[in-house]
Amino acid sequence: MTVTTGIVNSLTSARLPKWVPWALLAGSWAVLAVVYGILAAGSGGDYNIVAVIFLGTVLFDVLLVTTSYLVEGSRKARDRLVTSLVATAFVIAMLPLVSLVFTVVVDGWKRFDIAFFTQSMRNIVGAGTEQFPGGALHAIVGTLEITGMATLISVPVGLLAAIYLVEYGRGHLSRAITFFVDVMTGIPSIVAGLFAFALFALVFNDPGIRFGFGGAIALTLLMVPTVVRSSEEMLKLVPNELREASFALGVPKWLTIVKVVIPTSIAGITTGVTLAIARVIGETAPLLIIAGFTSSMNYDLFSGRMMALPLFVYTQYANPGTDVQPYLDRAWAAALTLILIVMLLNLVARLVARIFSPKLGR
């Protein structure tokens, strides 16, 4: 008996038992809850649950690190500090997400009905009628077409440019492209819209030009740098050993890129593309300038004004009639739709990544 404890001790002597962090966490929260309870009772103010959790977590971090320092030594203590900080960071980041998703779902659910997906806003006033309460079909179609077109243009261009930068580019040109792609991330979205408008007004000699394709071009300007930047980063991470192995087998360079380099980094690239789509699908200002505002359906990217979902959200929020509520409900429902669309895209991207990427250990 004594012998075994001796052996166990030698391995775990400098270690806190597993239950200690959890006990400390519960303890700190409890202490803060009591302190705030007394404060609230004393001043008659509201009970501040966020402060309890936040300050409790801080107290926990301090306690844990001190205990660990005393029992386990400084290296272990630092490790525990970082672990708790990392976990705290995660919790902090989740708070706004939960709040945001909760708000959008609760407020958006009220008008998340069939009519919303089968009707446009043509001839709809206020809450509309029983049969035609108004919907966002025109905006959904517009967003899908415009963003789809922008993706269709910017993904090949962006990916090819990234390939050039990583696999081929040497010297001044490649450095210039890298640099100016960075600069491009700084184009304010509204400037992209103004530019697309000026360009097409000039090309078609029509000072009032508004069409979906122009919106797609404006979004492409915003999307390309994100695609290049993230793809470049991912391609760079592909180990040179893989390329060299492929070359050694006599595989041409372009096939090496297509069959080895891209599949290896496809997960990262699709993540980057999804992020880029998410970045532009919510753009409002450039679309207002070049794609225009309409409450009627339009399937033709190349002629006539085209509505988009973010614009729909914004105008429903900003320009309601006397009876504000139905407009706000529609705005939130459209916001929910927009998020669902991007989620769906995300899912598809993950599927694509899983199909094409080589099966790795992790």
Binding site: Q119, L137, F293, A318
Partner: protein, 360 residues
């Protein structure tokens, strides 16, 4: 396995496309007389008349199903610019065309002919407030100017309590909310203060709010939201959006006037026209300093800017028909019901109708 998954995905995509490409249910209504108009009309301009425009367009399109009218609430400046360059067939604007703009050419009109302003949308601007325990507030121009320019900072300031002997005003700081975006509402509000309280309000009328104090919010929705969610707040916004908030009454002459559609329409009717315009141009120089207690001088007038003679006669016919409906008693009543506008008075309405008849 993979190809199966891909084909399933493709099938899903096809179904989705088919679903989305079916027409919007509310756009499949047929009808309309044989003589009805057809075509597409694009307008752009002030967001103030945006919700009224929605109503007008809906009614007009219902009567003429083969017509599509798009009005984008881009803002008055953008609307006028687009109209002058011929980008849109008509503009909505919170201020009439300036003399410089009139001196130039209008691309949509027959060369040499000019554009005209037609007042179609009158909206009283309300001073909305949210003060705990206070239901009614009376203010004179000097006090309003003091509050918004930052010289009066407490609700218990004697300048305010003297006007409101009955109200129990708290000893709390004032949060005055103004528009952060340039807007016709700000221009009308500052014009009112610059004319009625020039000794306090030393800035000229402008689209941009001239002082850096106070809280700024985007658009009417933003101002209403800030006033509603904040404490001891006051702001200015289109009266149609005042909702359940308290609205201050204005001192006009020696009495206090609550905002009302009738009083707002009255001041517009009683105001002179801008000098030196063509006979058909109804640009109104609002009489802010009126002392008539049936007038509510803090109003916004929004115009329809159209060509006197359109280069394209079909566009001219469409614009004319649409403007006719907008200015008609039916159109004005619809806007009053759904957008809280003040209908044009009978006198002004008759004048507008004759001008619209002259559009070609």
């Amino acid at each position: 396995m993979n190809s199966l998954r891909v084909s399933r995905l493709a099938a899903l995509a096809v179904v989705g496309v088919v679903l989305l490409s079916s027409c919007a249910a509310n756009e499949m209504q047929d009808g309309g007389g044989a003589e009805s108009l057809s075509g597409e009309l694009n307008g752009s301009g002030a967001s103030s008349q945006g919700s009224a425009s929605d109503v007008w367009i809906a009614a007009f399109q219902t009567a003429n199903p083969r017509v599509t009218i798009n009005y984008s609430p881009d803002g008055s400046g953008a609307g006028r610019k687009a109209f002058i360059s011929g980008g849109v067939a008509y503009a909505g604007s919170d201020s009439s065309l300036s003399s410089e703009e009139l001196a130039g050419d209008f691309a949509a009109c027959i060369p040499g002919t000019k554009a005209i302003d037609i007042p179609v949308y009158i909206s009283p601007i309300a001073l909305i407030f949210n003060i705990e325990g206070v239901a009614a507030l009376k203010l004179d121009p000097a006090a309003i100017a003091g509050i918004f320019s930052g010289t009066i900072t407490m609700w218990s300031d004697p300048a305010i309590t003297a006007l409101n002997p009955d109200a129990e005003l708290p000893h709390a700081p004032i949060t005055a909310v103004h528009r952060s975006d340039d807007s016709g509402t700000t221009k009308n509000f500052t014009d009112y203060l610059a004319r009625t309280a020039p000794e306090v309000w030393d800035a000229p009328a402008a689209d941009t709010f001239p002082y850096t104090g106070g809280e700024a919010a985007q658009g009417t929705s933003g101002v209403v939201g800030a006033v509603t969610n904040g404490h001891n707040t006051i702001g200015y916004a289109d009266a149609s959006r005042a909702g359940g908030l308290g609205v201050a009454s204005l001192k006009v002459g020696d009495s206090y006037v609550d905002y009302s559609a009738a009083a707002a329409a009255q001041v517009v009717t009683g105001s002179p026209l801008v000098d030196g315009r063509s006979a058909n141009d109804i640009a109104i120089a609002l009489d802010r300093t009126t002392t008539d207690p049936t007038h509510y001088p803090l109003v916004l007038v929004s115009y329809l800017i159209v060509c006197q003679e359109y280069a394209n006669p079909e566009t001219g016919a469409l614009v004319k028909a649409y403007a006719k409906y907008v200015a008609s008693p039916a159109g004005q009543a619809e806007a009053a019901k759904s957008a809280g506008a003040a209908p044009l008075s009978a006198e002004l309405s008759a004048k507008v109708a004759t001008v619209i008849e002259s559009i070609r």
